[in-house]
C-alpha cells in the first residue's frame, strides 16, 4: 500500500466505525475530517487537542491535523479533567475536539505536525510522547501483516491510549471496521462483539478473563485473538484455545517507545529463547541482569519533557521486566521496579501516595501491589489518619476523592487503616 495519512478516500464506501446504532463509512468520516480541517484553516489553528472516547472524534481530529499540518494532543481520558486543562493551557491549545468543538484564541507556537500522546507519569504529571502520523500508520500497516484484512475489531482498550489508537489506525489502514461498545463493561463488550460479528479482539489478559465470563463462544466467529499489556499466562491462553479453537491466538509484548517488540503465536506463555539470537520482528532482544532489553531502529520520536526520556545504553533500551530462561523458553516474571500492573495499566505507587497525602486528615500513606487472580494485581494502600479523624467517615471521603481524581485502575482497592506504616530498617517504607 502506497498511501499516506489516513487515506479515507480509498475504498470510501466501506464501513469504518460501528457504535451502538451508528454506522459510519470511510467516506462519512472523511467528510467530517474535511469539515474540521476547514474550520482549522479558517481560524488558523496550529495546535489542537481531542478530548473524547469516541473513535469518530479521534479520527476526525487526526485527519484534520494531518490535512492542515497542525499539532494534535490526544488527551488520555483516564486523566483527571484538571490535568488535561493544565496541559491544554501550558501548550497553547487553540481547538478542543469532542462532543462539541470549542476554539480558544491563544497564541500557539509554529506547528511541527506531531501527534502527542499521554501516559501517566511517576508523579502526578503525565508523560507526553511525540509521534508522527506516518510512523504510527506504518506501525499499523506492519502489524496488519499478521492479521487479515476486512476485519472487524472490538475496541477493548481506552481509545485515547496507545493500544487503543493502534487498534483504530490498524482498522483504518486495513479497511476494517472499528466496533466501539456503548458500555465499557464485560457485558457491553460482549454485546457489541456479538451484534457486530466482530472477527478480531485485542485485549489485556484481564479483559479476556472477564470477557470469558459473559461470552458464549459459539455466538462469536473470532479469527484473531490478541493479548497484550501484561504477560499472558498459560491458563488464560489454554482457556481461550479451548473456547475458540478456530481462532489464531497471539500474545504480544509492546512498549510505548518501540511499539510491538514481539508477537507469539504458538499458544505458549513467554517467547522462544532462540529469539535472543534471531529477533523475529526487527527488534533485537537481550537479557541483562535478568531484565529484558530491546533495540529497535524504529523508536518513537521521544518525550516532550526531557526528564521522561528513557535510559539508553549503546542504543539499547532497558525495560523493567524481569525474565527467566527455562529450557527453550523465556518467561516474563513481572516488574523489577515498584510499578504495579493493574490489568495492563501501569500504576506508579509514588503518584498514588502523593495523591493520598494531599487529602485532609491523611498523615501517612503507603501504596503497593496486591497479587490478584483476575487483574494480575490491585492497588493496595495503608493509610494513617490524624487522631481527630473518624475512620469510617475519613475512609469513605478519601476513597471518593480517589475515584474523582484518579483513573479507575489507580484507585486503591485494598485499603487498610493502620496506626503506623511498617518501616524497614533501611528507613524505606515496608516491603511491597
Amino acid at each position: 500500500m502506497n498511501e499516506r495519512g489516513l487515506a479515507l478516500h480509498v475504498n470510501a464506501g466501506a464501513a469504518l466505525v460501528a457504535r451502538g446504532t451508528d454506522r459510519l463509512s470511510r467516506s462519512d468520516v472523511h467528510t467530517r475530517v474535511n469539515e474540521l480541517a476547514a474550520s482549522f484553516n479558517a481560524r488558523g489553528v496550529t495546535r489542537a487537542m481531542v478530548v473524547s472516547d469516541d473513535p469518530i472524534d479521534i479520527l476526525r481530529a487526526i485527519g484534520a491535523a494531518d490535512a492542515t499540518g497542525a499539532d494534535l494532543f490526544i488527551a488520555h481520558t483516564n486523566l483527571p479533567t484538571a490535568t488535561i486543562d493544565e496541559i491544554a493551557a501550558q501548550y497553547g491549545v487553540q481547538a478542543r475536539i469532542g462532543e462539541t468543538d470549542t476554539f480558544i484564541a491563544v497564541e500557539a507556537p509554529a506547528p511541527s505536525q506531531r501527534i502527542y500522546m499521554m501516559t501517566s507519569g511517576t508523579t502526578g504529571k503525565p508523560k507526553i510522547a511525540t509521534h508522527t502520523l506516518d510512523a504510527l500508520m506504518s506501525r499499523a500497516r506492519s502489524s496488519a501483516k499478521f492479521s487479515q484484512t476486512e476485519s472487524k475489531w472490538l475496541l477493548t482498550y481506552q481509545p485515547t491510549g496507545f493500544a487503543g489508537l493502534q487498534v483504530q489506525l490498524t482498522a483504518v489502514a486495513t479497511h476494517g471496521v472499528i466496533v466501539a461498545p456503548e458500555q465499557r463493561t464485560p457485558g457491553g463488550f460482549y454485546a457489541a462483539a456479538r451484534d457486530n460479528a466482530v472477527t478480531q479482539i485485542s485485549g489485556t489478559p484481564t479483559f479476556w478473563r472477564s470477557f470469558m465470563m459473559v461470552a458464549r463462544p459459539e455466538e462469536l466467529a473470532l479469527k484473531q485473538i490478541t493479548l497484550g499489556g501484561e504477560a499472558a499466562d498459560q491458563s488464560t491462553l489454554d482457556r481461550l484455545k479451548a473456547a475458540f479453537p478456530a481462532a489464531r491466538i497471539t500474545h504480544m509484548y509492546a512498549s510505548t517507545e518501540a511499539g510491538v517488540v514481539f508477537a507469539v503465536h504458538d499458544g505458549r506463555e513467554g517467547f522462544p529463547k532462540a529469539w535472543l539470537d534471531t529477533p523475529p520482528q526487527g527488534v533485537a532482544l537481550r537479557i541483562v541482569d535478568d531484565l529484558l532489553q530491546i533495540k529497535s531502529a524504529n523508536l518513537m520520536g521521544g518525550y516532550l519533557d526531557q526528564e521522561s526520556q528513557p535510559l539508553l545504553n549503546d542504543g539499547w533500551l532497558s525495560t523493567a521486566d524481569r525474565c527467566e530462561i527455562v529450557d527453550d523458553r523465556v518467561r516474563i516474571l513481572g516488574r523489577q521496579d515498584s510499578t504495579i500492573n493493574v490489568g495492563g495499566s501501569k500504576v506508579y505507587p509514588l503518584m498514588v501516595e502523593t495523591f493520598l497525602l494531599k487529602q485532609h486528615g491523611v498523615l501517612e500513606a503507603r501504596v503497593f501491589g496486591v497479587p490478584n487472580p483476575v487483574a494480575g494485581a490491585l492497588v493496595g494502600a495503608e493509610i494513617v489518619f490524624a487522631p481527630d479523624q473518624d475512620h469510617a467517615e475519613a475512609r469513605a471521603r478519601v476513597l471518593a476523592a480517589c475515584r474523582e481524581g484518579l483513573a479507575s485502575y489507580q484507585v486503591p482497592r485494598v485499603v487498610k487503616i493502620v496506626d503506623q506504616i511498617s518501616v524497614r530498617e533501611s528507613g524505606k517504607k515496608g516491603a511491597s
Binding site: T185, S210, M213, D233, P373, A396, S408
Partner: protein, 81 residues
C-alpha cells in the same frame, strides 16, 4: 461455611463494592450473572470481589489459575471446601 452462607457473603461483598462507588445495594441471588449487565460491575470490581471473598472465606480457589464462573451461585460453589 455452607454454600448459602458463602452466597450471603458474596452479596455483602458486592453491596460494599457498590456502596464504595456510591451505588445502591443490589439484589444478588444464586442466578445473578455477575458480569452479565444486571450489576454495574467491571473487571476491576470483580478483581476486588475475588480478593474480598478470599479474606472472608480464608482461601483463594484461583491459586492455580482463573476458573470460569458466570453466576453468584457458581462462584459460591468454588468456595465450598
Amino acid at each position: 461455611m455452607t454454600e448459602d452462607q458463602i452466597l450471603a457473603e458474596i452479596s455483602k461483598a458486592i453491596t460494599q463494592i457498590m456502596s464504595d462507588k456510591g451505588l445502591p445495594a443490589p439484589t444478588v441471588t444464586a442466578d445473578t450473572e455477575l458480569l452479565g449487565g444486571e450489576l454495574p460491575i467491571d473487571s476491576l470490581d470483580l478483581a476486588m470481589l475475588v480478593r474480598e471473598m478470599e479474606e472472608r472465606v480464608g482461601f483463594d480457589p484461583f491459586q492455580d489459575g482463573f476458573i470460569d464462573f458466570r453466576t453468584a451461585g457458581e462462584m459460591a460453589k468454588l468456595y465450598v471446601k
